[in-house]
């Protein structure tokens, strides 16, 4: 159903509602319309109108939506295009790293052209929340996903889950030589074998988590230890998996799904994910989204976040991106481990991690990365 007909029907529905003399809350307009006098329109039209109104409570969605996406174009472009096609909203997307966009939003403040911030990690979302730039989301959107994947104050909501993991080249690494937690990687036996992406937002999130859980000193020591081990520096996570696949890298610190993408394309690839036994190296975190208070098009922004929770978007995240779906009832892709088998710290408070973000960056830079 295109934008024009939705608009037309919603105008009709409002007329009906006005005739009935009971202007109810938006979401119920459809039903009221159906109960109202239907003399001038056919039953089929009414049925279609009801369906449309129920599926799209925000019937006047339209205009332009500006999304700042910290998620890569290759991961989310399809979902965004489908949303645009279904709603008729014109979508403009600015792709960059989540942390860079969070910083940009903080700098822009009220003049930000962005309506929605879509981030690959909770810490970048927390930075924007900390600046007081997000609107509180409606309860029903927050209730779509488990409580661990939601900002405690309701400023943003998770859209998919991902776990930190190590990618290993099984030709050169045996699982038994790997440590139980991330601190064990600071070991001479890993000299020249480690890879990481120091400016990757999820890596920064992990460091923030480590500061929160283990204290600044221990993290600084670990970072400078890793820095002295002849590590390989990568701009992002995916090149680490590619390097491991090509035999150039033994162990990379990544998010789990890049490896699964490679394995889905080539089942014989020697790369493998190893999930650590505990600590921040095993952190499971949500990618998520929030609506900027300065947004000029909040209905479309809200519709977009709801769309990210729709079955088709959630199935895209799990079957194409290989993330954990967050909406109950969606079957996770078969390549994914059981999310309950992962040993993420359970006492994480996302807004507390955001406070450590700047410290995390300072420690990473200070260690010489």
């Amino acid at each position: 159903m295109n934008k024009k007909s939705i608009a037309l029907i919603s105008v009709l529905l409002m007329l009906f509602a006005a005739c009935a003399g009971e202007a109810g809350p938006q979401g119920e307009q459809g039903e009221q319309g159906a109960q109202g006098p239907a003399g001038e329109v056919s039953d089929a039209q009414v049925a279609a109108a009801v369906e449309a109104a129920l599926a799209e409570p925000e019937t006047e969605v339209g205009g332009t939506l500006v999304i700042y996406s910290g998620r890569k174009e290759s991961l989310v472009a399809d979902v965004i295009a489908a949303f645009a096609a279904e709603t008729g909203v014109t979508v403009e997307v600015r792709y960059a790293k989540s942390a860079a966009l969070a910083g940009t939003l903080a700098l822009e403040g009220a003049i930000s052209p962005a309506d929605v911030f879509l981030s690959q990690d909770p810490v970048s979302l927390g930075v924007v929340a900390k600046e007081g730039l997000f609107d509180v989301l409606p309860e029903d959107i927050l209730d779509n996903v488990p409580a661990w994947a939601v900002d405690q104050r309701g400023y943003w909501v998770g859209t998919s889950g991902r776990s930190r993991s190590l990618v290993i080249d099984t030709r050169d690494v045996t699982e038994s030589e790997l440590p139980g937690d991330i601190y064990g990687l600071n070991d001479e036996k890993f000299r020249g074998r480690l890879g990481l992406a120091p400016s990757n937002s999820s890596f920064i999130a992990m460091i923030a988590c480590m500061i929160e859980q283990d204290g600044e000193e221990k993290v600084a020591e670990w970072l400078s230890g890793i820095n002295s081990l002849d590590y390989g520096e990568y701009p992002k996570n995916s090149p680490q998996v590619a390097a491991a696949d090509a035999g150039e890298l033994d162990i990379g610190m990544i998010n789990h799904y890049y490896t699964l993408r490679v394995l889905a394309e080539n089942g014989d690839s020697p790369v493998k994910n190893v999930y650590l036994d505990g600590g921040c190296g095993a952190m499971v975190m949500p990618a998520g989204a929030g609506i900027l208070s300065s947004s000029q098009n909040k209905p479309a922004a809200l519709a977009f976040i709801e769309y990210l929770h729709s079955t088709s978007a959630q199935e895209h995240f799990t079957n194409t991106v290989f993330e954990f779906p967050l909406v109950p009832g969606i079957t996770p892709n078969a390549l994914l481990p059981d999310i309950n088998s992962l040993n993420s710290p359970t006492d994480l408070n996302w807004s507390a991690l955001a406070i450590w973000q700047e410290k995390a960056v300072e420690l990473i830079a200070g260690a010489g990365f």
């Binding site: 500006v66 969070a102 910083g103 700098l107 990568y234 992002k236 830079a365 200070g366």
Partner: protein
């Protein structure tokens, strides 16, 4: 002649607008909430400064060595195909450092193209070229042509009587060069060294791809890390300060007349080489051309052909092509228009203000693009939010760094417009406008066009400012190269790079050699 008020005013407006990034940085430096010492304590500043400055010295040294050697060999010695060799050696000038570095990184990655090609010899893995060595190689290969062009034109104009006197006194040929020729080329050497040095400290693409931590890389890392506060301003300001020092030395001193050496040019008879020396000389040229030109171009061609044969989507780069063209066209036209009042003031009205204006405008050329981009980013957010992330702001930012090229083009052609022509025209009762239309414009439009074309080509290749300031959804070929490369998608990156080079290489070469030789 007294400078007309309107002209003076428009120049003051242009100058203030264009110096805004510098003013903004200065203002921020005075309003830091933390002490200067705290930057030096917490942010590895010394390390980055050390890395930046050591890169400056090694690249200047190697570029001068290579560039000077090429000039001397081709101009003073009997070498076959010297014209072609000269052109081939100078061509790497057109390869943006980020594309050059990209080809090196991808070809010499531990299991990259090089290893695949030579796998029959038993090589299975190499230490990739990166870091200090990688940046050194990449920056040298794409900057020595500046030295070559400047020094060879000086060498051509050098009066050779001293050389011949030394030779007649029995001085060994090597000594003639070390004690006679090179000392007399001191000015062009210093001039071109500083040009190369400016390039080195401002370079962002090569050091980032090579993962070598310089100030520019730190600025971009902080941007990506979301620390858009004092540190990024501090580093950008530091970089602008360094660049201004270098370009004031370069433009401000009499070194600027460097390329012109006094005396009547007398070109001595070219010296024959012994066959053994000939072998080494040709080997030298083959090596230089191979590494600076053949290798990057073949790597790009290889990726292009491979990409096409496996059916890579060509449409993906189309948006970038359109973006590059639209930005470049608008910027170059505006640059020509804005440069007019400056050129007229500088060349038609001798005044103290004009002299200062000339120096300042020319030193804008040396401003590091990344730092200017950061400054414009802050200015548009904090002071002019209505143009934030607009095409207009991006174009302004391009204009700030590329305007000097348009001014240069205009200035050169303005020299042909003698004051007497104007006087003659006005004594014949023609109005100022008519004089401009009938006398001045026909004389200068070629120069203006050349300046505009140079701006067009520079804009097309610009990377860091575009990354920071582009409107949402706006892409250029340079941005495509960069973002594909940072995802490790070298094939697609090389694809965009190839198109960029194919479109811009030849005109860039013709125009920039013209400009540098002047």
């Amino acid at each position: 002649m007294k400078t007309p008020k309107g002209l003076l005013l428009s120049n003051i407006v242009i100058l203030t607008t264009f110096l805004m990034p510098v003013f903004y940085m200065v203002w921020r430096f005075f309003t830091f909430t933390r002490s200067f010492e705290s930057f030096f304590e917490s942010w590895n500043v010394y390390g980055l400064l050390f890395n930046t400055i050591s890169m400056f010295f090694v690249v200047v040294f190697s570029s001068v060595t290579v560039g000077l050697l090429i000039s001397i060999l081709l101009i003073r010695f009997e070498i076959r195909y010297s014209k072609i060799l000269f052109t081939l050696c100078a061509l790497p000038l057109v390869i943006p450092s980020y594309i050059g570095a990209l080809t090196y990184v991808s070809a010499f990655s531990p299991k990259g193209l090089f290893v695949q090609l030579f796998s029959f010899t038993g090589i299975s893995e190499i230490n990739g070229i990166e870091g200090f060595i990688g940046s050194w190689i990449a920056l040298t290969l794409f900057t020595y042509p500046y030295v070559q062009l400047i020094c060879s034109s000086a060498l051509r104009n050098l009066d050779s009587t001293v050389e011949e006197a030394a030779r007649s006194l029995g001085t060994k040929r090597f000594r003639i060069y070390t004690s006679v020729v090179i000392p007399r080329l001191k000015k062009p050497i210093i001039y071109s060294s500083l040009l190369v040095g400016l390039y080195v400290i401002s370079d962002f693409g090569a050091v980032s791809l090579m993962k070598y931590s310089t100030i520019t890389k730190a600025i971009y890392t902080y941007y990506e890390f979301s620390l858009l506060g004092d540190p990024i301003i501090f580093y950008s300001g530091l970089l602008i300060f360094l660049a201004l020092i270098i370009s004031f030395i370069q433009r401000g001193s009499d070194v600027s007349r460097a390329a012109k050496v006094s005396g009547t040019p007398r070109i001595p008879a070219k010296v024959e080489l012994s066959s053994r020396n000939k072998f080494f000389v040709y080997l030298f040229f083959i090596t230089v051309i191979f590494f600076s030109l053949l290798l990057p171009v073949s790597v790009l061609s290889y990726w292009l052909i491979r990409g096409l044969s496996v059916g890579n989507d060509v449409r993906a780069v189309f948006g970038g092509v359109v973006g590059s063209f639209s930005a470049s066209i608008v910027t170059s036209i505006l640059a020509v228009i804005i440069s007019m009042p400056i050129v007229i003031l500088i060349s038609q009205y001798r005044s103290r203000f004009g002299d200062v204006l000339e120096k300042v405008i020319l030193s804008l050329y040396g401003l590091p693009h990344l730092a200017v981009g950061v400054s414009i980013l802050f200015i548009t957010i904090k002071i002019f939010p209505s143009i934030y992330q607009s095409f207009f702001a991006l174009v302004i930012s391009y204009l700030i760094v590329f305007l000097p090229q348009a001014v240069g083009g205009g200035q050169a052609s303005m020299e042909q417009v003698k004051a007497s022509y104007i006087d003659a025209s006005s004594s014949l009762g023609k109005s100022k406008l008519e004089t401009f239309r009938k006398v001045t414009f026909p004389l200068i439009y070629r120069g203006l066009f050349a300046g505009g074309a140079l701006v067009f080509l520079s804009t097309m290749k610009e990377l860091p400012q575009t990354l920071l300031l582009r409107p949402t959804g706006f892409n250029t070929m340079a941005v495509d190269v960069w973002s594909f490369a940072s995802e490790g998608l070298f094939t697609q990156a090389a694809f965009s790079a190839f198109i960029l080079l194919a479109i811009s290489a030849i005109p860039t070469y013709i125009l920039s050699t013209r400009n540098l030789n002047r």
